[in-house]
C-alpha cells in the first residue's frame, strides 16, 4: 500500500513538469502562495541510545524547525493528535496501525529516528514512512562527531526537501554578518538558523558589508583597516588569510560578486562622487558603469548576471535603477516613496528586495518586480530594517533591524510571514548575507 505516497509523488512530479514548461518563476509562486498545499508531515521524538543527554529530542526539534522553514511541509503536532509510538525502537517503530491513524488525520509522511553513539562517533538514523501504509520509503544513517548533530539533522531535512520537491534545501547554508566587538565591527558567520556564531576578523575597527564567494570559502567586504581609508578585502574563513582586492582612493563599498564569480561590482568615489564599477576577477581590469554627478552605489546582480540593480540619488533622494551589466540601458525602477535603497535581486529573478521609507518615515523592507509594476511592502513595526539578503532558494530573506532596540539579524519569508530573530547576543548585529547552497 504505497499508493498514497506514489500518487502524491507523481502528482508533485507531474505538477512540477507542467509548471516548468510554463516558466521557472511559477514554481516559486506555486510554493509560496498561501493556497499552496503543503505536505503534512509528522515527526516523532527521536530515540536516544541509552544516553542521558536528550539528543534525540533535540534532533527532532531541529528537524521540525528546518521543515517548517522549508515552507514545503506543514509539521503536525503528533502528541496533540494522540498519535504516539508503539514502544518498539527499531525500523518498525512506526507500524501499519500508527500509519493508518496518521493518515486519518491527513498526515502523508511520518519521520522517526534515533541518535546513538558508536565508539567515537555519533549516529543519526532517520526513517521516513508513508502515512497510510507505514512502508519505510527511505532510511538514512548519518555518522559524525557529537558536535555535528545539528548538521546531521540539517542534512536529513535537506534530504526530505529534495525528495519531495527535487530542489536543494537551505538547512545547511550559512549567514555572515557584522557584530560590534570592543568598539569595532567584525565579521561573523553562523548557521542559517542562528546557531554557532563564530568570529572571522579581529581588526579592531570597521569591517562592513560582507559577501560570500561562490564556494563559501571566502568573504569579500569593506575594511577600514587604516581607519581613514577603505579597502575591499577578501578573507579565507578557514585560515584568516587576507587579500586586498580593491584600494582605489575614496569610498570602496558595497561589493557584489556576479553569479558566475567572474566580476566584482562595487561603488567607489575615486571620481569625486560614488560611482558603480566592476572588476574582472581574473584580469583585475576595472570598468566604470555609471556616469552621473549623483551618488551611485549598492550594485545587485540579476541571477543571470546580465543586469544590475543599484541605488542612485540622481533624482534627489535615493531610488533604485536597473542597467545592463555593461552600464547601458539605465532605467529607473522605483517611483513609490522618496527613499528606496539597498537592492537585493532574488535568486529566481522575480523580485528585487530593498529598503523603502514608508509614509510614517520608517525604514522597512519592500519588494519590487524587475519591470517596476509590482511593489509590495514586506515588514512593518518600529526601527530601521536594513541590508536584505535572499536565501539561495528564494523563499526567505535575512536582514538587520532595530525593531527591538539593539540591531539584530532576522529571517522572514518572502511573503512577509514568520519573522524570526536569529541573533541573541552582542550589542549590534548588522549587514547579513546569506551563503550560496
Amino acid at each position: 500500500m504505497k499508493i498514497s505516497l506514489v500518487v502524491l509523488y507523481l502528482a508533485l512530479l507531474g505538477g512540477l513538469i507542467g509548471i516548468i514548461e510554463s516558466g521557472a518563476e511559477d514554481v516559486f509562486m506555486e510554493a509560496t502562495r498561501p493556497d499552496f498545499q503543503k505536505i503534512p508531515i509528522g515527526i516523532f521524538g527521536f530515540r536516544d541510545g541509552g544516553d542521558q543527554d536528550p539528543n534525540g529530542e533535540k534532533a527532532a526539534d531541529v528537524l521540525r524547525a528546518d521543515l517548517r522553514r522549508s515552507l514545503i511541509f506543514s509539521v503536525a503536532d503528533l502528541p496533540k493528535l494522540g498519535i504516539r509510538l508503539n514502544g518498539r525502537w527499531e525500523k518498525d517503530a512506526v507500524d501499519k496501525r500508527l500509519a493508518q491513524q496518521a493518515s486519518e488525520q491527513g498526515i502523508s509522511v511520518l519521520v522517526w529516528g534515533k541518535v546513538w553513539a558508536k565508539e567515537a562517533d555519533m549516529l543519526l538514523d532517520g526513517y521516513v514512512y508513508d502515512g497510510g501504509s507505514g512502508d519505510v520509503v527511505a532510511d538514512r544513517r548519518y555518522i559524525g562527531s557529537s558536535s555535528v548533530l545539528r548538521q546531521m539533522t540539517h542534512r536529513l531535512a535537506d534530504e526530505l526537501v529534495f525528495r519531495y520537491t527535487g530542489e536543494q534545501g537551505i538547512a545547511r547554508t550559512k549567514i555572515t554578518f557584522v557584530s560590534e566587538q570592543n568598539g569595532g565591527r567584525e565579521l561573523y558567520v553562523m548557521d542559517y538558523d542562528g546557531y554557532g556564531p563564530r568570529q572571522v576578523t579581529a581588526d579592531g575597527f570597521l569591517n562592513l558589508m560582507p559577501r560570500w564567494s561562490r564556494d563559501r570559502r571566502f568573504l569579500i567586504f569593506t575594511s577600514y583597516r587604516e581607519r581613514t581609508k577603505q579597502y575591499i578585502d577578501m578573507v579565507e574563513i578557514a585560515t584568516g588569510k587576507r587579500w586586498t582586492l580593491i584600494s582605489l582612493p575614496g569610498l570602496n563599498i558595497t561589493p557584489a560578486l556576479s553569479p558566475d564569480g567572474s566580476s566584482l561590482a562595487f561603488a567607489t568615489s575615486q571620481d569625486g562622487n560614488s560611482e558603480v564599477y566592476k572588476m574582472d576577477t581574473n584580469t583585475k581590469a576595472f570598468q566604470r558603469l555609471t556616469f552621473h554627478a549623483a551618488g551611485d552605489l549598492s550594485p545587485a546582480w540579476s541571477p543571470t548576471g546580465r543586469e544590475l540593480a543599484f541605488t542612485s540619488d540622481r533624482g534627489g533622494g535615493p531610488q533604485l535603477f536597473v542597467m545592463s551589466a555593461d552600464g547601458s540601458n539605465v532605467r529607473r525602477l522605483t517611483y513609490e516613496g522618496d527613499y528606496n535603497a539597498a537592492p537585493a535581486w532574488s535568486p529566481r529573478g522575480n523580485w528585487i528586495a530593498h529598503v523603502c521609507r514608508t509614509e510614517e518615515r520608517q525604514y522597512k523592507l519592500c519588494l519590487v518586480s524587475p519591470d517596476g509594476q509590482k511593489h509590495i511592502r514586506l515588514t512593518s513595526g518600529p526601527g530601521v530594517d536594513d541590508s536584505p539578503s535572499w536565501s539561495p532558494d528564494g523563499r526567505h530573506l535575512v536582514f538587520s533591524s532595530t525593531r527591538e532596540g539593539k540591531s539584530h539579524i532576522y529571517m522572514i519569508d518572502s511573503d512577509g510571514a514568520n519573522l524570526e530573530r536569529l541573533t541573541s547576543g552582542g550589542t549590534s548585529n548588522t549587514s547579513p548575507a546569506w551563503s550560496p547552497m
Partner: protein
C-alpha cells in the same frame, strides 16, 4: 544488526574527492598582482576543514590543525610588502557540497565537521587602533576644533556651520604642521550603504568650504563612517542631530 551497503557511500566519497580535486585545480589559477597578509591575529584551526572531512578522515580527528597553518603575521599597516606573494584565489569556483542527494532507498553518509573558521584573537593592530583613537581624541579636544552639524538627509553647510568652520580654519592655519581628518557621520535612520555616501558628501562639503577659506586640500583627509560610529545612541532627534556631523579631528602620526 543493520545491514549497511557501503557502495553508495564509497561512490559519494569518490565523487566528493573528484569535486574537491576539481575545485582545487581551478583555484590554483594564478592571479598576479596582489599579495596576501595576516591582519596580525593569532589563529589556529578549530575543526576539520570540509575538504579533509569529505575524504573520509571524519570528525574523530577534529583537533587536526588546518593543513596550511597561517604564515607569520604581518600588520596590515605595512601591508602587502614583506609577505611572499599568494595569488588571489579564483572567485569562479563552486563549492563541492552540499550536492544532490542519492535517491537510493538506503544510504549511509559521513557528515563532515562544520564550516572551518580560523580562531580569532584581538590583533596588535586592534590594540594600536584603540590607542590611536584615544590620542586623536585627546589632541582634538585640546585643539578646540568644533564640529559642523547637518539637517536630515542633507549635506548643506548651514550659516552656523560656516561660522564654526571659519574659527576652525584659523586654528588649522595657525598650526601648519597639523594634519586634519574630516569625518562624515549620519544618524541611524536610513541604510548603512547610503549613509556611507551621505557621510562622504558631508565630509567633502566641509573640505570644500575649508579650502575656500584658504586651507591646502592636502592637509585635509576625508573619510565617511556613515552611521557606523555614532556619538550618541539614543533614539531621539536631539541625539540624531548630534550624529549628523562633520567631525574635525587631529591626525596623530
Amino acid at each position: 544488526m543493520r545491514k549497511v551497503d557501503l557502495t553508495p557511500c564509497i561512490a559519494v566519497l569518490v565523487g566528493g574527492l573528484f569535486l574537491v580535486g576539481a575545485g582545487c585545480g581551478k583555484s590554483i589559477q594564478a592571479n598576479s598582482g596582489a599579495k596576501s597578509f595576516e591582519p596580525g591575529a593569532k589563529r589556529e584551526a578549530t575543526s576539520v576543514p570540509k575538504t579533509t572531512a569529505s575524504t573520509g578522515s571524519g570528525p574523530g580527528s577534529s583537533s587536526t590543525p588546518s593543513s596550511k597553518p597561517p604564515t607569520a603575521a604581518s600588520s596590515p599597516r605595512e601591508p602587502l610588502s614583506s609577505e611572499p606573494e599568494t595569488p588571489i584565489p579564483s572567485l569562479s569556483t563552486l563549492d563541492s557540497g552540499p550536492g544532490p542527494f542519492n535517491a537510493k532507498k538506503s544510504d549511509e553518509q559521513r557528515v563532515p565537521g562544520d564550516l572551518l573558521v580560523a580562531k580569532t584573537e584581538p590583533s596588535d593592530m586592534s590594540r594600536r587602533q584603540v590607542e590611536e583613537i584615544q590620542r586623536e581624541q585627546v589632541a582634538t579636544a585640546a585643539s578646540g576644533l568644533e564640529d559642523v552639524y547637518f539637517g536630515f538627509d542633507s549635506w548643506q553647510i548651514s550659516n552656523e556651520g560656516k561660522q564654526t568652520l571659519m574659527v576652525d580654519a584659523e586654528w588649522i592655519k595657525a598650526n601648519p604642521s597639523q594634519k586634519v581628518t574630516i569625518e562624515g557621520h549620519c544618524d541611524e535612520r536610513g541604510t548603512l550603504a547610503y549613509n556611507l555616501v551621505l557621510g562622504e558628501k558631508r565630509a567633502k562639503a566641509v573640505q570644500t568650504y575649508l579650502t575656500e577659506l584658504g586651507i591646502n586640500a592636502n592637509r585635509l583627509t576625508v573619510v565617511s563612517y556613515g552611521k557606523e560610529r555614532p556619538f550618541c545612541k539614543d533614539r531621539e532627534e536631539s541625539c540624531y542631530q548630534q550624529n549628523r556631523r562633520g567631525h574635525i579631528a587631529i591626525r596623530v602620526q
